[in-house]
Symmetry: C2
């Protein structure tokens, strides 16, 4: 395996002190390996790894590049140092430059003077002057997935064979941690994308609600973030909001597609969608925490909603959030028997319902977002992209 410690690595040179130093170094590598394996958050793996790599080989700065196989390019995943902001969007074709050469050959590069290396293509930012370069391939499951590069050895001329040996030992745990985090992200994304696609297909049976789910998801997550929910809570809210109307699958066409207002019996059939949806979601053990969102997104804070006539804090927060998002979108959308309201009018009406239809703290968050002009589909889409990992790679 390319990432295993190079066999026959040179023994430490200077007797007991050298051995002691090597042992300490291996203990550090073992610790770092455990630390990297302990997170599946890709951004965190990258930042931790770069810090450790710079310290391990005493480098001025460094970067981690990821391979985009489809486009045959490498792109920055993480970069540190003062020029980071300016070069963050740099992309390098495979085979170009030192990093590109390392990715293609799978062999590391130890360059003592960059300007004399034929692969060197100059510094991307004029404020930075590269002298020495150390770059190792990141290999996971037999494939090169990226490159770890360090620039400018600190307090000495250049990186040496010992730095290279250390960095190669470090590249193994890093590559696997990155690959595991990538898989984890891809799986989360496949899950939410599939749930959304199926929920949207259900929604399409009702020709007047096109895009409703997408908008309710966006507004719900914007509200959730404004209310201070954490990333994992937002991810759960996303799935709950996407599934909030899934129970409509059980409502007959004759009621779902009716072009005039529903009579009492029809309305009570229609209202069954909350229970039907809860039943569908409850069938998946790991989705059970979402049952209340689906079941209770039509409750009112004054207790006059359905199906359980819950009031106040008895309504789960996620359901209170989706209720506001759902109402706002329904009010601003056209229906067969009425045109959608102007957003300002709808917002004023929702704000007026604080403590009656809607939860005061959610309405307050709604009002702040609306006031700042941030309750938009575009802002929501941006939030979704940031939750589902880097949008440019998967």
């Amino acid at each position: 395996m390319a990432s295993a410690p190079p066999s026959g690595s040179a023994p430490p040179s200077e007797g007991a002190a050298g051995f002691r130093q090597r042992l300490a170094e291996y203990e550090t590598l073992l610790e770092i390996g455990v630390e990297l394996a302990g997170t599946l958050d890709r951004q965190r793996v990258l930042e931790l790894a770069l810090q450790h790599a710079e310290r391990l080989c005493r480098a001025e700065t460094g970067s981690i590049w990821e391979l985009d196989e489809e486009r045959g390019e490498l792109f920055f995943r993480v970069v540190r140092g003062q020029v980071a902001g300016r070069i963050r969007d740099l992309r390098v074709p495979l085979g170009t430059g030192i990093v590109g050469a390392v990715a293609v050959s799978g062999e590391p590069a130890l360059v003592t003077d960059a300007e004399r290396d034929p692969r060197w293509r100059g510094d991307a930012a004029s404020e930075f002057h590269t002298r020495s370069v150390l770059a190792v391939p990141l290999v996971a499951r037999g494939r090169v997935i990226g490159v770890l590069q360090l620039l400018n050895a600190l307090d000495r001329e250049a990186f040496d064979a010992d730095d290279l040996r250390r960095l190669r030992l470090f590249a193994g745990p890093l590559a696997h941690a990155l690959e595991n985090a990538r898989l984890h992200e891809a799986e989360k994304r496949q899950f939410i994308d599939t749930v959304t696609a199926l929920a949207e297909a259900v929604e399409k049976r009702d020709p007047y609600t096109g895009g409703h789910i997408r908008r309710v998801v966006c507004y719900s997550l914007l509200l959730g973030r404004e209310l201070g929910l954490e990333r994992s809570e937002l991810e759960r809210l996303w799935v709950g909001a996407a599934l909030h109307d899934i129970g409509k699958i059980a409502i007959p066409d004759a009621i779902l597609r009716k072009e005039s207002p529903l009579d009492d019996e029809e309305r009570s059939t229609m209202e069954r969608h909350a229970l039907e949806g809860a039943e569908i979601v409850a069938r998946v053990r790991s989705l059970r925490p979402l049952v209340p969102v689906v079941r209770n997104h039509h409750e009112r804070i004054d207790g006059n909603g359905y199906p359980d006539h819950l009031a106040g804090e008895a309504i789960p927060l996620a359901a209170r959030i989706v209720a506001v998002a759902d109402t706002y979108d329904a009010m601003t959308s056209d229906r067969p028997y009425r045109r959608g309201l102007d957003p300002g009018v709808a917002a004023a009406e929702i704000i007026g319902q604080a403590g009656r239809q809607h939860a005061p703290e959610v309405v307050a968050a709604f009002a702040r977002l609306y006031e700042r002009g941030e309750l938009t589909l575009a802002a929501g889409e941006e939030l979704l992209a940031s939750l589902s990992g880097h949008p440019d790679t998967d």
Copy 2:
């Protein structure tokens, strides 16, 4: 972190030789760490880990226990040695025995003579005599997730402090590899369970097809296994088979629920479900490989199917498989206008359609399974359970 190398670990005792041995040991640990991080297959992680642990500490045998938090028990994940078969189903309440004590305290146990240890509860199998025990907790993300236990030091009286130190260093990478594999399994399972629940909810609109999807999934996977598909291919087939009729979501009630045979126009509307389903699945980038299964599960091997009139090998294998599973279940199920056929009659008819409606190699696999009495829902459910990880834990 409990799983980091114990700080201030004793230096090697015997000069250069001791140092060299310690260095070699650390290199081995680094290699093993990379190897464990490189797989997300839980069973493989467990088996690899146990082999390495036994070698690392020269033990006669060993086991890895996993914590079942809900039940407050530990259960065997993997065990080696001659009595493995007999004790595989053993469960131990938290706090009971040496393993149970280690799980509760989070502290390792180094026992030189088991029979003198108050926590010891005797050997589970009379053929095996435990003398010395070494057990370390597996800690991932700050939580004890299990225990790694070794029994009987080889060629010496008992395990020593050095064995304990080594095993603790090993426990960190192992715990994280196990936890990552567990998460990966749980995510795959949540995905397939959710897709199945939503597909079954769609199916429920048609009151005469209850359980159809589940049965088509089971028959398809049994056929796939009989045809030699690999695990990852079977997992894909599972999702494809679950979604094969998802396009029915777009078919109006009036046609879907009609209790008499469909006229030509109605049938052509009904046949649109293959295209509608393909469109839904195509919306999820990572599901695109499944589009052909959904789109082409009503093709015929002689080219007279729909919607693309593909023939022979031009029909993707997964679609050929689902076609047989789907037909067999449709033939043996009751419909409003006819009773289901006897399985033997249906099987004979499918076999007679080899080369006309169905693919010969799939029909051959079908015939073998039917002949052996293995084309049953129960056999299918067992296969599903084995594909989705240990059924008793998630």
